[in-house]
């Protein structure tokens, strides 16, 4: 356990089951308690997206990921707090109030899946389902010292997940150990014909086979450190871990080679992300008009309903999204952001020796297996801070989001102020196993360092 239970109210849960049903399934998640971010449908508990707009929204079914986890033996404990509709990097903007950091009253858990991260960190659950659109799983995982996986886009069904930006939204997984996250991932990563962006069984197979071929034919791990994502000096803990990895090699006997690589388009990522995510948010949130469900203003007007039902940050992004989609701005903003997104994907493809089975690009023979970079540029966000600064927190996490790649944040020691910090392991599309293997090595090394 990372933290002692404190009586202090962190505002982790939005609702909790008094008597969680114990699953009779003997599946691989049997006996595990699950926290679910309050953007996934659950039969027993409301699904609010931490918004006034959906305070009384009671779906009839479980989201596909919730249903798969339960079928594999996990039991639902409750719903966790988050930024409204997943929009935020600090978990500052929730209709239920912010989620505080488990270590400090002055800090926030990070967002948008702050409740899920805190629930895992406090050992109030065995794993948590979260979402990650531009870093919403990895950032709070880093701040709270837990493992956070953003899988490849299209592997875990989004059916039953309240959308924020649908071309980027991914179901995330949080746990205290890489193995638990991997176990949950293996259960949830299923083709679903209810999700039009769910990737086919063939494509999944092609990606994992491509990875296996490379792994079996090579006697070394090739790890890239993208210089654009290292503009903040890596923490001492990360340096120690990486040094150890190079010195001793991997636990499976493979040598580890480190390369400094370049991802030139990464500097475009943050801007492109906010343009695209806001555009899609303005669209996917257009449905909240108070007509069919959700909050309706006293006057009944759509305008009042949206004015009163949405929080300030959501309204800010909707406005930004509406602007970038307007006829005059579309080419300059939206199309340019799409171009940047393609460039970022191409940049990543050039770095890996694993081929991208979605774009069918050739793998580069002297490429790397995974990339490693710090997850966050700073420690957990301050409760009192310049809100505008929040956007910059996503600067290191958005490239993998835009490129639809798997990325996992694993804790690597503490920063100078004593807060946990994470390092992200990123690999080619569909190569989650590569991510898990490298993350496990880092996890083991960190344990050894701690013991030493």
């Amino acid at each position: 356990m990372l933290f002692k239970q404190t009586p202090r109210l962190l505002n982790v849960w939005t609702s909790k089951l008094a008597n969680p049903a114990v699953s009779s399934s003997k599946g691989s998640l049997s006996g595990l308690g699950m926290a679910v971010k309050d953007v996934f449908w659950t039969k027993e508990l409301p699904t609010t997206a931490a918004s006034k707009m959906l305070r009384s929204f009671h779906p009839e079914k479980d989201a596909e990921c919730v249903s798969l986890a339960r079928a594999a033996g996990a039991s639902l404990l409750g719903k966790t707090n988050c930024d409204e509709f997943g929009m935020g990097s600090s978990n500052r903007y929730s209709d239920f109030g912010p989620v505080l950091h488990p270590l400090s009253n002055e800090r926030l858990a990070g967002g948008s899946s702050g409740g899920s991260a805190a629930a895992v960190a406090l050992n109030e659950c065995d794993f948590a389902l979260s979402t990650d659109t531009g870093g919403s799983t990895r950032l709070p995982a880093s701040y709270c010292g837990v493992v956070g996986l953003k899988p490849s886009y299209g592997l875990i069904s989004r059916y039953g997940m309240i959308p924020y930006a649908e071309s980027l939204d991914c179901v995330g997984i949080m746990a205290q150990e890489v193995d638990t996250a991997a176990k949950v991932f293996n259960v949830l990563s299923q083709y679903d014909d209810k999700d039009p962006t769910s990737e086919s069984i063939e494509l999944r197979k092609a990606a994992s086979e491509a990875y296996r071929r490379v792994r079996d034919s090579s006697d070394c791990w090739r790890i890239g450190l993208p210089e654009e994502l290292f503009n903040h000096a890596p923490s001492e803990a990360l340096s120690v871990a990486i040094d150890a990895l190079i010195r001793t090699g991997a636990s499976n006997g493979k040598r580890v080679k480190l390369y400094q690589v370049s991802l030139p388009s990464a500097r475009l990522a943050l801007n492109a992300y906010y343009v695209l995510a806001s555009a899609e948010a303005s669209s996917s949130l257009a449905r909240y008009d108070g007509m069919q469900y959700g909050y309706r203003s006293e006057s009944g007007s759509v305008q009042d309903t949206r004015e009163e039902g949405f929080g300030e940050e959501v309204k800010r992004r909707i406005k930004l999204g509406n602007y970038v989609l307007s006829a005059d701005a579309f080419d300059n903003y939206y199309l340019n952001a799409q171009r940047a997104r393609s460039a970022i994907t191409r940049d990543f493809d050039r770095l890996f020796r694993l081929s991208n089975v979605r774009s069918e690009t050739e793998a580069s023979i002297d490429g790397v297996d995974v990339l490693i970079h710090p997850t966050a540029v700073s420690g957990p966000p301050l409760v009192r801070s310049q809100e505008e600064g929040d956007y910059a927190q996503d600067i290191l996490t958005t490239p993998a989001s835009l490129a639809s790649l798997p990325a996992l944040s694993v804790p690597v020691g503490r920063d100078s102020e004593g807060f946990p910090q994470g390092v992200s392991v990123v690999s080619q599309w569909g190569c989650e196993q590569a991510v898990f293997e490298v993350a496990r090595e880092l996890e083991m090394l960190m344990k050894e360092i701690l013991v030493a």
Binding site: P59, Y159, A165, D195, S283, A286, L325
Partner: protein, 532 residues
């Protein structure tokens, strides 16, 4: 219901030529330019992206609504094959190039009947483009030139729900049964020059979509809706030959061909007057509506306050690919289109355009009422005619009896045509009796009437009604009786009084009680009187 439609539609002729021919002569020097945007609701059994079935107009409100249709967050669109392939079929039938890959976009606006806050449509990469629908001069009275209407694009999209406003409630009532039903929008080039041509295009489009079982095509029920783009061009200075063209206006949601014609004519005159009076600047690029009561257009919005729809590629939906091979397969399986039927009827059977038009129109009405043209060969009147024409060896006799006598008597009885009302064999037997002079045309109509009420053969009915044409001997008896009964008149006739001959013939016809051919009886009477 079936027959009322037939009663309405057979005699009905859209009075569109009136608008054209009555137009003041000054108007004719201004060129009218018309383009159309047609929304055709596909008659697929399932909505475009949800698992909801498609309701009919009489379904209970909100009884065909899935969570996706109501835009419940967390639901996702899954493209259904049935409406998709119906749209491809329409594209092929309209001679379009089908895009190897098309994609879906969101068109955003807020309205009560649009729960998602956007419509999924195809703005950037539509299903098909560059089609053409050809017209030949004189297919009916209203078309006076050979021309083609080019189809710019066909896009597949979602229909909206319906919002009803009642005077006693502030908020509208919303019915989502129609929400998410598949539509195709067919956008034409401005290739039509008269309201009649626009009407002809809509009718032809409708007959094609009905023939291939893609759209029921009933404008009144809203499953075919037309927006019209109109502007006018005219020479304003005959010396310098300066040509002025008014800005294009769009007239929205015309739900009948009559309204369409009236609205186009109204705008034609308004634009032409403006050019004539040097006031072309008063015409703006506006979106207009049509006020049926007052027979005039009204402004809905101007270009300046046009809605910015904030089009965006739908992040949930991938491009849909179709191979040339698949398109070819659709083409191979396509039903015979109305133009091909028209050609066959005119060339193989030598029918005139008018008779062919009646056959095609009735056929289309019947198949659209039935809903599915394939399963309705019972009501296929063209097929019925062709079988009858082949059996009787006389297409003209066959078409006359099918169109005028059979349909005429059926509509008097308020009964819809089906091949079961009088089988081809029974009808053929009746025509044979006429052809072999065993019954007069007049008597044959009575026989047909009786046949509609029974299953008896034509011959049996003929004998039962005692309407068989009289034999030579019987006719001689009739002539003899006439001369005997009207001795005075006979004598006068023999002396050269021609007037009295008519009376004698009338008397003879009465005695023959419809069972004699008038001219034959006249000849025999005259012979008897020694007048030949």
């Amino acid at each position: 219901m079936h027959s009322t439609r037939i009663l309405q539609n057979v005699p009905k002729k859209i009075k569109n030529s009136k608008g054209d021919s009555n137009a003041a002569s000054w108007l004719s020097q201004y060129r009218l330019i018309i383009g159309l945007e047609i929304h055709a609701q596909l008659n697929a059994s399932i909505k475009l992206f949800s698992k909801s079935k498609v309701s009919n107009d009489f379904s209970k409100p909100n009884s065909f609504v899935s969570a996706f249709d109501a835009s419940v967050p967390g639901t996702l669109p899954i493209l259904n094959k049935e409406p998709y392939w119906k749209a491809i079929k329409a594209a092929v039938a309209l001679n379009c190039t089908v895009n190897p890959s098309s994609s879906f976009d969101r068109k955003h606006y807020f309205y009560y009947d649009l729960p998602q806050g956007y419509q999924i449509t195809q703005q950037y990469n539509p299903l098909a483009h560059s089609g053409a629908v050809p017209f030949r001069a004189n297919i009916d009275d209203t078309i006076t030139r050979d021309f083609s209407v080019n189809v710019q694009r066909i896009q597949l999209e979602q229909d909206t729900g319906k919002a009803y406003f009642h005077s006693d409630t502030a908020t509208p009532l919303v019915d989502l049964n129609r929400c998410g039903v598949a539509l195709i929008e067919i956008v034409t080039r401005p290739d039509m020059q008269t309201p009649s041509e626009a009407v002809a295009f809509v009718k032809k489009l409708r007959s094609i979509l009905r023939a291939i079982d893609v759209c029921n095509g009933n404008m009144e029920e809203g499953n075919l809706r037309a927006d019209v783009n109109v502007n006018v061009e005219g020479t304003t200075d005959n010396v310098t030959n300066t040509v002025t063209r008014t800005p294009r206006v769009e007239i929205k949601n015309l739900n009948s061909l009559k309204s369409m014609t009236a609205a186009i004519n109204y705008e034609y005159e308004r634009h032409a007057k403006a050019i004539r009076d040097g006031q072309a600047h008063v015409i703006h690029q506006d979106t207009l509506g049509w006020d049926v009561q007052r027979s005039q257009t009204y402004k809905m919005r101007s270009k300046e306050d046009a809605v910015d729809y904030r089009y965006m590629p739908d992040p949930n939906l991938r491009s849909v690919g179709v191979t040339e091979h698949q398109v070819q397969e659709v083409r191979n399986k396509l039903e015979t289109l109305p133009d091909a039927v028209r050609d066959r009827l005119m060339q193989e059977y030598g029918l005139n355009a008018r008779d062919v038009n009646v056959l095609l129109m009735v056929n289309e009405d019947l198949s659209s009422v039935g809903g599915n043209s394939n399963s309705n060969s019972d009501s296929d009147i063209v097929q019925y005619f062709e079988e009858l024409a082949r059996l009787s060896q006389s297409p003209q006799l066959a078409v006359n009896w099918v169109i005028h006598e059979l349909l005429g008597q059926l509509s008097q009885r308020d009964v819809a045509f089906s091949r079961h009302v009088v089988t081809v064999d029974r009808m053929h037997e009746l025509l044979s009796l006429i052809q072999t002079n065993q019954v007069t045309s007049t008597a044959a109509k009575k026989v047909l009437g009786a046949m509609l009420d029974s299953d008896a053969s034509a011959t049996a009915t003929l004998d039962q009604l005692d309407l068989r044409m009289l034999s030579q001997d019987a006719l001689q008896d009739v002539v003899q009786q006439t001369v005997d009964q009207l001795q005075d008149e006979s004598n006068k006739a023999q002396q050269g009084n021609t007037k009295v001959v008519r009376k004698l013939i009338g008397h003879a016809m009465k005695l023959a009680s419809g069972k004699a051919d008038g001219s034959r009886l006249e000849a025999m009477l005259k012979e008897k009187l020694g007048l030949l």
